[in-house]
């Protein structure tokens, strides 16, 4: 099996509203693709295949056949094979995995991966109905009604609270941390937003309840954006004279699929999602404590808490303790020194809550963030001495889970 490396990547500013610019998903796929090619410093003619991660452009924009935008990135890409991956919010991670598996299997040596979503095309009510396609729409919509996803994760939060005794103020720790991280990220959607822990902890006019116990600050927002990476084989690295020991490599990954409806899953344990993490760590022959940073799927604050436990960063029921200890906050934003024995900044760029959640782009954005952290290009949000990095992207109510471990050397 061939090794997979990241040669470069790019992303768009997640604060943008494409409709206000008179642009569409087509423009950001092209923009993100060009950025990756520029960053990787390769001739586009070297790219042999393209993967596009996207959840629901068909309903959000009435446009599909997204692979056909790859040739518009550069005329030299006209004629290459392309594929579109979809698994709800995990669509982006699947496009990375598709590219990686092409390289592992020896089909190609250079693959361009782009994840993209344009969501600001309709009202939030209609948009939430489109997002409902990520759940068991025809069975869960009648049960949960409008704004199904906040309600599904509100239910997960209730189950977690009943089992482990967490509070709304505990969940607010995640929101506060990720908003604080976003301030260090010049491309984050919420970089200019101020959120105090006090405001995040209680329902108010500024922070209304969405789906108890979740408030607005517990939720990722509607986002337009795209992200990209270029994946290459060891053979290609050698061909262009790059040192593989300085390149970012995929050390391990796991990918699992659970039943679609939430009530058929074992919330809040999510044993199937856990298997994805176990596979990733097993393949990399590493443990959670070997990681120096992580990007995890925080579509809602409760999701990050649950993800800590799925990924083995915390024992079951101890996710809240981990975030409260300050161990998952960047030292740059910690209000006081943490005494936690294990420190791992999580969602240093703000995560889905702070950086934004353009659904199909998120999994690719996480991998690009891992690449930036591992190559010391993360600016003010840089994690010191990051050598091993975990990404966890999931779709639906923990239906599709993808854990990936990246490292250098």
């Amino acid at each position: 099996m061939n090794e997979v490396y990241i040669l470069g990547g790019g992303r768009t500013d997640f604060k943008r509203n494409l409709k206000k610019e008179g642009k569409t998903i087509r423009h950001i796929i092209i923009e993100a693709g060009k950025k990756a090619i520029d960053d990787a410093k390769i001739d586009p003619a070297e790219i042999q295949a393209g993967a596009v991660g996207n959840f629901n452009a068909g309903q959000f924009t009435k446009q599909l056949q997204l692979g056909a935008f790859i040739p518009e990135i550069d005329p030299k890409l006209r004629g290459i094979p392309t594929m579109h991956t979809e698994a709800a919010c995990a669509s982006g991670a699947l496009s990375v995995l598709l590219g990686a598996e092409w390289i592992m299997g020896g089909f190609y040596d250079v693959v361009l991966v782009v994840g993209a979503e344009q969501q600001k095309t309709m009202s939030s009510l209609d948009g939430s109905d489109v997002l409902g396609a990520a759940a068991d729409y025809h069975n869960e919509k009648p049960e949960y009604g409008d704004f199904m996803f906040p309600k599904l994760f509100g239910r997960i939060a209730q189950i977690y609270i009943e089992k482990y005794g967490a509070t709304e103020a505990d969940l607010a720790q995640v929101a506060w941390k990720n908003y604080a991280h976003a301030k260090l990220n010049p491309l984050a959607q919420m970089r200019d937003a101020d959120l105090t822990l006090d405001c995040a902890s209680q329902v108010s006019d500024k922070n209304p309840s969405v789906a108890p116990p979740l408030k607005v600050s517990d939720c990722s927002q509607i986002t337009d954006g795209a992200a990209s990476v270029i994946l290459v084989s060891e053979k290609y690295l050698a061909k262009i004279g790059r040192d593989k020991n300085k390149a970012v490599r995929l050390l391990g990954y796991g990918h699992t699929t659970d039943y679609l409806p939430l009530d058929q899953k074992d919330a809040p344990t999510f044993s199937i999602a856990r298997k994805a993490a176990e596979k990733a760590f097993g393949m990399a022959n590493l443990k959670p404590r070997d990681m120096q940073g992580a990007e995890v799927h925080d579509c809602f604050s409760i999701t990050e808490i649950v993800a800590y436990e799925i990924l083995g960063l915390a024992e079951p029921g101890k996710g809240v303790e981990l975030v409260k200890s300050g161990a998952t906050a960047l030292p740059q934003v910690r209000p006081e020194k943490t005494k936690a024995p294990f420190r791992i900044p999580v969602n240093a760029g703000g995560g889905l809550i702070g950086d934004g959640h353009p659904v199909g782009a998120t999994g690719v954005r996480q991998v690009f963030e891992a690449y930036q952290q591992l190559t010391a290009q993360a600016g003010a949000r840089q994690i010191e001495k990051a050598k091993r990095f975990l990404t966890f992207n999931m779709g639906g109510s923990l239906t599709t889970s993808v854990a990936m471990i990246w490292g250098k050397g």
């Binding site: 509203n17 206000k20 009202s123 209609d126 200019d192």
Partner: protein, 129 residues
């Protein structure tokens, strides 16, 4: 441009297909200050001195017109409109960054939101003054 022997003046009225004309009429009154003008066989007309909107019962089609813009006289009024719309629970696009150029580089400033049927509305100030 071909010459025509007339010039279109202010908007008289236009019709919008909405799911529930009564509910929509209440929203237009509360959010935009458009009062009820008259009932017709399958809907309600709302308006003010400048425009009338005929809300008729039907299947909404927000993508047909993409968006509609109304001008406000100045930025102070636009900011008052923002506060008012928020106070009556209208979700404005891009929370925290609601007032923005109409297009990149444009001096016209606006804000955008949707009505209950998904139609996208813009309030804007020419020249942003």
């Amino acid at each position: 441009m071909p010459e025509v022997p007339f010039t279109l003046e202010e908007v008289g009225h236009f019709g919008l297909a909405v799911r529930d004309p009564k509910k929509s009429a209440k929203w237009f009154e509360r959010a935009l200050g458009l009062g009820k003008e008259f009932d017709f066989n399958n809907g309600i007309a709302v308006g003010n001195d400048y425009v009338t909107i005929a809300l008729f019962k039907g299947k909404p089609s927000p993508e047909t017109i993409d968006h509609m813009s109304f001008h406000l006289p100045d930025m102070a009024t636009l900011r008052k409109a923002l506060d008012h719309l928020k106070s009556v629970g209208v979700e404005i696009e891009d929370p925290g960054d609601e007032i923005a150029p109409e297009a990149p580089g444009s001096k016209n400033m606006g804000l955008w939101f949707h009505d209950p049927d998904g139609y996208r509305w813009e309030l804007s100030v020419l020249g942003g003054k």
